[in-house]
């Protein structure tokens, strides 16, 4: 059983006990524990069930590479699935539960799958569930969804907060082991601004566990001294619990800081996403030990040799009293020696190499440990935990030579550099056959825009698996990076370290090398996805020769760990099955993030009321206080209508329209775009922008205009007012303010750069209130002494007035067909003017109206709406707006496009009014059918509805639509099928339904 040792635990504060629960069981750990070490200290070897076969699974690793030990962490809205216990710092009150089992962890029904493993090979789902087709949706998929998967989705309502942070530095160092520390120091001493990030809560990485001396002092002392130096340097920023998550183009680097995962309940944000621009990035990301592929290598108690060492040294935890070590390299001997020195038993070291190990092997022997060269594990004995191993010759097929009782197996298949961050942005890899791993190819680093390298690799991430090599490589990396940023590195020497005489590793991809199919079917490559040696071999036989295809087919290296333990072993097996060298097979693509980061960190603070900006007019507060029903218009929220009491929206709209047509209403039109265009060439510029002539407009007057893009399509409309000889004010649609301003600047800056025109977007400078209805003039007259007569301020004119003691500009324009003044006032006065107008209009029962009333009234008048009658494919000619297209002008944007044959085609659908025979309202977007069917078997069409409303003014449904030859077919009746199967008949009529001569607005 696993337990806490009396000695060891360099990271623990044994004076501080922490309580936590696992599957409801109350357990105790110490400050400094990870959840993994605390579980192991409580003999909780079994922590989960595997993905497919529901096999019992225990902790395998001690760091970010852990594939098995994933839990649901926390409860309620804080519950998060798939949290690695090895990277979760223990805190008091932590709760977690295991995943992927039913009814419970110890007894899991799904484990029956392990006996069906023969029938669940690689590609099983693809083969099994493809026929019959309809079964997938209704039978197979629901079943698979039920049985597959890791954790449950988290619950809504996360109470924690998250944020981003932008940071800039010369050199960002990822990884705070001895390599990262030395690289950071070398770069910082050269004068570079350095950021050093370490994903765990501790500096120094593996060195304090693995031992060795640096500059004549123990590694731990050197780490302390180096940190002190770095802390004293103003140009260095040190961050713990911060992972380099992804490397992107131009030195963009994402850092993932887990600010308060270990201190929940404090007022700190939980995660902080660092958005870093680094001149140079140093990946000092270390290396990850590989498992060995032997039968039963997934049984709880079989762990990486380095992890067993970590738990003993860092956390004072032993995995078992008797640990068998199995290895193909010298490093695993350190585990045997360490455990022996803790007083634990090592029944045997099985060294797959015929020649055995070097100095460390001699040391182990000297400690009295039995070392067997050329031997391996035929099979691990046990179910929910290891009870023993059967030994065989590595060279053979698995004939059992001897069985040894043990509680734990420490395995080491060699070390693979963490090349992920090097690879994210295109860094290439080399196959190092001596060490049997891929390492970064220094000739092919990730490159910037000028072809320059912007990532440097350091230490064991670069394949230097010895302390001396790591430190000198890291020192050089720091200097290289600083130099690339224009700094002068000092001519200091790298720290020295004692070299250990290690024997060469021997690649072992399968143990024993000739393992039969029964053993291969129990030799796991990918623990998380239940992929075995036999599955990869099957994939190769079935033709999945590309490593990327084999990955998808077998699921090797997928899911949360992305194959940190399994990839190299898997592709070695694949290469062997394909009979090609490993580098020819290559690796799958390394993609960010290095380990999963929270979606909340990506969202940052963008949630709840700051999820997105909501634009508000100066009068927005009044709308809110008076029960407005809002609708989004771009990022604005505009009142759709103002229902009173229990009134329905439709009733409110009807009331608002009737009030407007009969007496007086107000509309908050502040969102309309307002762009000042000024200069000697302003008139010429607007003549190009609009389809009609603007340069002939007289100061004091307004003119409606259409704007097309260079493809001829109608993109915006609005009223232009000429302010003075040089100055125009262009009103745009609400949604068009920014884009039309950009459109103007585009033409001015890129094409007509020599025209003397300046523009300014003054949309937000003004609140604009439309005062609409037969009582508009007399109401305004109460607030001003200025002359409002039709002569002084006629229709399509404007004037500066003083209204309620406020300076305003009144435009006599109308989108409703009523007598109407749009009053622009500086935004800071907007609310005051609104209040004054409500007061002044009270005697006429003044009411605000919303966008729906606006839409209905404009449709009653046959006015088009950008976005309803237009959709990016409509030209003004389609809308019978030839009157707004100048015949005199040589050119305007869109003119030539509109002359193209398809644009000039008389068969284009054209705008008409539609009047239902029964008075009902046509469905929006409905199509008018024509006889016959097209090549796809669909009904032929001859028109469609673009706007449709109930008109309170006319007491019936009205609509506008685009119809083939429409204007020539007045009186024709069209069929509009409804979604529910019925047909609505509608007559083609003039699109102006109300007050065709405009008598109401021009009084």
């Amino acid at each position: 059983m696993s337990t806490r040792l009396a000695k060891g635990g360099r990271l623990l504060d044994k004076g501080r006990a922490l309580h936590f629960t696992f599957n409801g069981k109350r357990l105790k750990g110490h400050a400094g524990d990870t959840l993994a070490s605390a579980l192991l200290a409580n003999d909780q070897m079994l922590v989960g069930r595997s993905f497919k076969y529901h096999r019992p699974r225990g902790i395998v690793a001690s760091g970010a590479e852990e594939p098995n030990a994933l839990v649901h962490l926390g409860e309620g809205p804080r519950m998060e699935p798939n949290q690695r216990v090895t990277t979760t710092e223990l805190f008091d009150g932590l709760t977690c539960t295991s995943q992927n089992h039913w009814p419970n962890l110890d007894f899991d029904i799904g484990a029956v799958n392990t006996h069906l493993a023969r029938f669940l090979p690689a590609g099983f789902y693809y083969k099994m569930f493809i026929h019959p087709r309809p079964f997938w949706k209704h039978i197979y998929e629901p079943f698979i969804r039920q049985s597959a998967g890791l954790g449950r989705a988290s619950n809504p309502g996360d109470p924690d907060r998250y944020e981003h942070f932008y940071f800039f530095c010369d050199v960002a160092v990822i990884g705070g082991g001895v390599a990262g520390l030395q690289a950071a120091l070398a770069a910082a001493e050269a004068g570079a601004k350095v950021l050093l990030m370490e994903q765990t809560a501790h500096w120094g990485g593996r060195a304090p566990v693995d031992g060795g001396e640096i500059d004549g002092q123990p590694a731990e002392d050197w780490i302390t001294a180096t940190l002190a130096k770095l802390r004293d340097m103003p140009n260095v920023t040190l961050r713990l619990r911060s992972m380099g998550a992804g490397v992107y183009d131009h030195g963009y680097l994402l850092g993932y800081e887990r600010v308060s995962d270990h201190t929940p309940g404090t007022n700190a944000p939980r995660h902080r996403l660092w958005r870093i621009r680094a001149g140079q990035i140093i990946t000092a990301t270390g290396a990850i030990e590989r498992p060995l592929s032997f039968a039963g290598n997934d049984i709880p108690g079989v762990m990486l040799a380095s992890a067993i060492r970590d738990y003993a040294v860092n956390y004072g935890v032993s995995i078992g009293d008797r640990t068998v070590v199995v290895t193909n390299n010298d490093d695993a001997y350190r585990t045997a020696i360490t455990l022996k020195k803790f007083g634990l038993e090592i029944p045997a070291i099985l060294d797959a190499r015929q020649q055995g190990g070097g100095a460390l092997a001699a040391e182990a022997r000297a400690l009295g440990i039995r070392v067997e060269n050329g031997k391996g594990i035929a099979k691990v004995k046990g179910g929910k935990r290891v009870t023993g191993v059967a030994i065989c010759a590595q060279a053979g097929e698995g004939a059992v030579l001897e069985e040894i009782k043990c509680d734990a197996v420490a395995m080491s298949g060699g070390w693979s550099p963490v090349v992920h961050l090097w690879s994210h942005c295109g860094g290439k890899l080399l196959w190092d056959s001596a060490q049997a791993h891929f390492r970064p190819d220094p000739a092919n680093p990730p490159r910037g825009a000028q072809g320059e390298a912007f990532v440097v690799v350091a230490g064991s991430a670069n394949g230097y698996l010895d302390l001396a090599g790591t430190l000198s490589d890291a020192d050089a990396a720091g200097k290289t990076a600083a130099k690339a940023m224009g700094h002068k590195p000092k001519s200091t020497k790298a720290p020295s370290a004692t070299a250990t005489d290690e024997a060469a590793l021997e690649a072992v991809w399968l143990m024993p090398q000739g393992a039969n199919i029964k053993l291969r079917m129990k030799s796991w490559l990918d623990y998380q996805n239940d992929v075995k040696v036999s599955d990869v071999q099957l994939a190769a036989r079935e033709g999945y020769e590309s490593v990327e295809h084999a990955k998808r087919y077998t699921t090797l290296g997928m899911a949360t760990d992305q194959g940190k333990l399994s990839n190299i072993n898997g592709l070695a097996i694949l290469s062997d099955a394909l009979g090609q060298p490993i580098p020819q097979t290559g690796t799958t693509t390394f993609r960010p993030p290095y380990t999963p980061i929270s979606l909340s960190a990506i969202a940052g603070s963008a949630r709840d009321e700051i999820f997105q900006p909501i634009r508000k007019t100066p009068i927005h507060g009044w709308h809110e206080a008076n029960g407005a029903h809002f609708e989004p218009v771009g990022q604005w929220r505009r009142p759709y209508c103002f229902p009173k009491g229990e009134e329905t929206h439709r009733d409110a709209v009807t009331r608002e329209i009737n009030q407007t047509r009969s007496r007086l209403s107000l509309l908050d039109a502040s969102t309309l775009g307002k762009i000042i265009v000024k200069g000697p060439d302003a008139g010429k510029f607007l003549d190009m922008l609009y389809t009609n002539v603007m340069s002939s407009l007289k100061p004091g007057k307004c003119r409606y205009g259409l704007m097309c893009n260079e493809n001829g399509f109608l993109m915006d409309d609005g009223v232009v007012a000429r302010i003075d000889e040089d100055t125009f004010l262009c009103h745009t649609t609400t949604g068009g303010a920014e884009s039309i301003h950009g459109h103007m600047e585009d033409w001015l800056q890129c094409e007509w750069w020599d025209w003397k025109v300046y523009t300014a977007n003054v949309t937000e400078q003004y609140a604009q209130i439309a005062v609409v209805g037969p009582k508009a003039r007399e109401t305004l007259a109460k607030l001003t002494t200025d002359d409002l007569s039709n002569d002084a301020l006629p229709f399509m004119g404007w004037a500066d007035l003083t209204l309620a003691d406020m300076p305003v500009r009144a435009y006599r324009i109308s989108f409703s067909g009523e007598l109407s003044y749009e009053i622009a006032v500086p935004a800071s006065h907007g609310r005051a003017l609104w209040d004054a107008l409500l007061d002044a209009g009270a005697e006429h029962g003044v009411t605000p109206y919303g966008t729906e009333g606006l839409h209905v009234m404009r449709a009653e008048k046959g006015f088009i709406m950008i976005g309803d009658e237009t959709d990016g494919t409509v030209i003004p000619q389609d809308l019978n707006m030839g009157w707004a297209i100048s015949k005199k002008k040589d050119d305007y944007l869109g003119k030539r496009a509109q002359e193209r044959s398809h644009m000039a085609d008389p068969n284009r659908w054209k705008l008409v009014g539609l009047e239902t025979l029964d008075g009902s309202v046509l469905p929006d977007g409905a199509y008018a059918t024509a006889p016959g069917h097209n090549a796809n078997g669909q009904r032929m069409t001859q028109g469609r509805v673009t706007s449709t409303y109930y008109s309170p003014t006319l007491g019936r449904g009205i609509a506008m639509g685009l119809v083939h030859n429409g204007p020539d077919r007045m009186g024709d009746v069209l069929d509009f099928p409804k979604v529910d199967g019925g047909i609505i008949k509608a007559k083609i009529v003039d699109p102006i339904f109300f007050d065709k001569d405009g008598e109401k607005q021009n009084v």
Binding site: R161, E163, H164, F165, Y166, F167, F168, K193, T237, T266, N267, A268, P269, R272, R275, R277, G604, S605, A606, E609, I610, Q612, P613, I614, R615, K616, T617, P618, W636, I676, K678, G679, P680, K756, Y758, T759, A760, V762, T763, E764, Q765, Y766, D805, M806, P826, A827, S828, H829, R831, A832
Partner: protein
Amino acid sequence: MSNAVTALNGANYQGFATIADQGLTGMITLRGDLASAGVKAAVKSATGLDVPAQRQALMGQGTAALWMSPDELLLLCPYAEVGARLAAVEKALKGQHFLAVNVSDARTFLRISGKGAREVLAKVCPVDLSPEVFIPGMFRRTRMAQVPAAFWLDETGTFHLICFRSVADYAFELLKASAQPGGEVGLYA
């Protein structure tokens, strides 16, 4: 004119930095040839200041001249004086091609002060706000989370930030969230 109010109406938040509405401020957008004697004279007469260089903010007594683009400045003055200052600009540039327009009401004008001010901004703006890089007198037009914004730093270490009026609530709430105690990054404070 007594009924003029800003969108935030004097709002103030005290976190690990202080976020405050600066109140009504006169603002003039001036577009023209920034190298011309006319613009130089216009800026001088409206603000008493020189024409700012690229990404520079010049600050005077209740005035400022801010570089917005190669042909655009933003001039600040007391709100009540904007009419007179605008007239001064127009007089200085009479007969030349330029655009000067009152935008005093189009903006929200905030102050971010206190030791944590740099970190508050560095959470929402992709700008290097380290003290050795972003120094007093610097001006930056940028993005603040999801809205455009511009800010500059004065000699007292206070940031002045402008954004559009319509997003005043968003900007204020965003900066509040950034300045919430416990969120100190610990770099610049």
